[in-house]
C-alpha cells in the first residue's frame, strides 16, 4: 500500500487534472485505474485501496487547506481549493518575496537584486 504522503499527491493530481468535484468513491476508482495502468506490483495492491483510506487522505488534505468539500450533498464531493499553478505561484511568492523573516525560513542561492544590478550582472555574463 502506498504511503499517505504518496496518496495525497496522487489524489491532488487527480483533482487538479479533473477540474471538477469528485466523490471519494470516484477518486478511489480512478486511483485504482491509474495504479493498474502502471502495470507493476503496486498496481495489484491499488485495487484493494479502501474508500475509507481515500476519505482519510481527503480529510488530511482538507485540514491543510488544499481541498474543500461541497456540503449539503451526500456523498460529499471534493475539489481542489486552487489550481496547481496557483499553489506554485504561492510558493514562489514566498521564496522570491521580501517577507522580513524569509531569510531565516529558507536560504536562496541568490537574494533579490535591483534592476541595475541585474543589468550589470547580465553585462558581466556577456563578457564571460
Amino acid at each position: 500500500m502506498a504511503s499517505l504522503g504518496e496518496l495525497e499527491r496522487a489524489v491532488m493530481d487527480l483533482l487538479w487534472a479533473g477540474h471538477e468535484a469528485a466523490t471519494a468513491n470516484t477518486l478511489r476508482d480512478r486511483l485504482a485505474t491509474t495504479t493498474e495502468a502502471k502495470g507493476d506490483a503496486a498496481g495489484h495492491e491499488g485495487k484493494e485501496l479502501a474508500v475509507t483510506t481515500v476519505l482519510t487522505v481527503l480529510s488530511r488534505l482538507e485540514k491543510k487547506g488544499l481541498v474543500e468539500r461541497e456540503r449539503g450533498m451526500r456523498p460529499h464531493r471534493y475539489q481542489a481549493v486552487s489550481s496547481r499553478e496557483d499553489h506554485t505561484a504561492e510558493l514562489m511568492h514566498e521564496v522570491l518575496g521580501s517577507a522580513p523573516d524569509r531569510e531565516a525560513v529558507l536560504a536562496r542561492f541568490i537574494g533579490s537584486v535591483t534592476d541595475s544590478e541585474a543589468e550589470t550582472l547580465r553585462k558581466l555574463l556577456g563578457h564571460i
Binding site: 499527491r9 506554485t88 510558493l91 531565516a104 542561492f109 541568490i110 558581466l124
Partner: protein, 342 residues
C-alpha cells in the same frame, strides 16, 4: 561591586554601537568569513550578557558584595519575605528591567523558532505535492517554474534543496553542480541555526544598530562560506556564471543559452580581475545606502570572486579568535569572579 556594573554597561554600549559599525565596514571578513562569523557571535552574546549583567549587578548592589551573594539576598526576599527596604526605586527598576529583558530575549527566540518552523512545515507540505524528486541529486526536488530559482529548506532529516525548471534549463551541468554544492553547504554547516538566532536577536531589539548590522553581516558571511565550499569542486568561473545567470532573473536563461557555446578557457580568463578591467568592478562596487541587504550580499559575493584577496594570515585570525574569546570571558568574569574571590 559598584564599578562592575559600570564596566558592564560600558561594554554593553560599546558592543551595541561602535564595534558593530566598525566591523560592518571592515573588509577583512570577506577574506576569512568563518573567523568573522565567530566574532559576530561573540559580540552578540557578550553584548546581551553585559546588558543584562549591568542591570542585575546595579540592582543587587545594596544587598550583596557580589552577584552570588546578591542573588542569594534577592532569593531571601522573594521566597522567604526578608525585608526589602535595602532596595531603592532604581535598584528595583534595574532588577525588573534585567528580568524583563531576559524573558523578552528568550521568548522572542522561541517565538521566532515557532514561526519559522510553521512556515517551513507549510512550505514542505506544498512541495510534497508540487515538486518532483530530482534525478541528478539526493534530497533535491524540482518545481515547475520559469524563473531560475534555487534555495534550500532546512529541517534536519527532511532538509531539501529546491530547483526550478527555469534554473535547470538555464544552467550548464557544472554550474548546476556549483549551485547544489553551495546549497548543500548551507545545510551541512547548519547555517539555519545562525540565521534563526540572529533573526530573533534583531526581532527582539530592532532599534539597536548591532542587531541589524549583525544580521546583515551573517546573511552575507554564510553565502561566502557556501561559495567557498562550491569552489572546492567547481571552478571560480563556473560559480560566477551561475550567480550571474540566476541573479539576472528570467531573461538570464536566454543569456545563458547564448554564451553556452563559449569555451572553458575564456570563462577561466574572465574570472581574473585583469581580464575585464573596469566593467565588473565599476558597476559592482557601488553599494550605497539605498541598496537592500541581499543585493549588497550578491554584489560583495561576486566582487569577492572576481578579485580574490588572500585569506587573513594565521596570526591575524588567531588574534580575532582570541578577541572573541576575551569578549565572552570579560563579562562572565566580571559577573562571577568577585563572588569567587569574596
Amino acid at each position: 561591586m559598584f564599578w562592575t556594573s559600570y564596566l558592564l554597561a560600558v561594554l554593553a554600549i560599546v558592543l551595541a554601537w561602535p564595534v558593530p559599525i566598525l566591523l560592518s565596514r571592515a573588509s577583512w571578513p570577506a577574506r576569512s568569513p568563518f573567523t568573522a562569523m565567530l566574532l559576530w557571535q561573540a559580540i552578540a552574546l557578550a553584548g546581551g550578557l553585559s546588558m543584562i549583567g549591568a542591570m542585575l549587578v546595579y540592582g543587587l548592589e545594596p544587598i550583596g558584595d557580589n552577584l552570588i551573594s546578591g542573588l542569594r539576598g534577592l532569593a531571601d526576599m522573594v521566597l522567604f519575605n526578608a525585608p526589602t527596604t535595602a532596595l531603592g526605586f532604581w535598584h528595583l527598576f534595574a532588577l525588573s528591567a534585567a528580568a524583563l529583558l531576559t524573558a523578552h530575549l528568550v521568548f522572542t527566540l522561541l517565538l521566532t523558532y515557532y514561526k519559522i518552523e510553521r512556515q517551513r512545515r507549510r512550505h514542505r507540505e506544498l512541495l510534497a505535492l508540487l515538486a518532483a524528486p530530482s534525478v541528478d541529486a539526493a534530497r533535491t526536488v524540482v518545481i515547475s517554474h520559469d524563473s531560475p530559482v534555487a534555495y534550500c529548506l532546512p529541517g534536519g532529516a527532511r532538509s531539501v534543496t529546491v530547483l526550478s525548471d527555469g534554473l535547470m534549463a538555464a544552467l550548464e551541468p557544472a554550474e548546476l553542480r556549483a549551485v547544489l554544492s553551495h546549497e548543500n553547504a548551507h545545510l551541512n554547516q547548519r547555517h539555519h541555526l545562525l540565521l534563526w538566532a540572529f533573526a530573533a536577536w534583531r526581532q527582539a531589539l530592532p532599534w539597536l544598530p548591532t542587531t541589524r548590522l549583525a544580521q546583515e553581516a551573517v546573511n552575507s558571511l554564510i553565502e561566502m562560506l557556501a561559495d567557498d565550499v562550491a569552489l572546492k569542486t567547481e571552478s571560480k568561473a563556473t560559480l560566477i556564471k551561475a550567480i550571474a545567470i540566476v541573479a539576472s532573473g528570467p531573461t538570464g536563461g536566454m543569456a545563458g543559452g547564448m554564451t553556452a557555446g563559449m569555451g572553458a578557457g575564456s570563462m577561466a580568463a574572465a574570472a581574473m580581475p585583469s581580464a575585464h578591467p573596469g566593467l565588473a568592478l565599476d558597476g559592482l562596487e557601488a553599494p550605497t545606502g539605498a541598496v537592500s541587504g541581499s543585493a549588497r550580499t550578491t554584489i560583495s559575493r561576486v566582487s569577492r570572486l572576481l578579485s580574490p584577496e588572500p585569506q587573513l594570515p594565521a596570526a591575524a585570525r588567531g588574534l580575532v579568535l582570541a578577541g572573541s574569546a576575551l569578549l565572552l570571558a570579560v563579562p562572565t568574569a566580571l559577573l562571577i569572579v568577585p563572588g569567587l574571590l569574596g
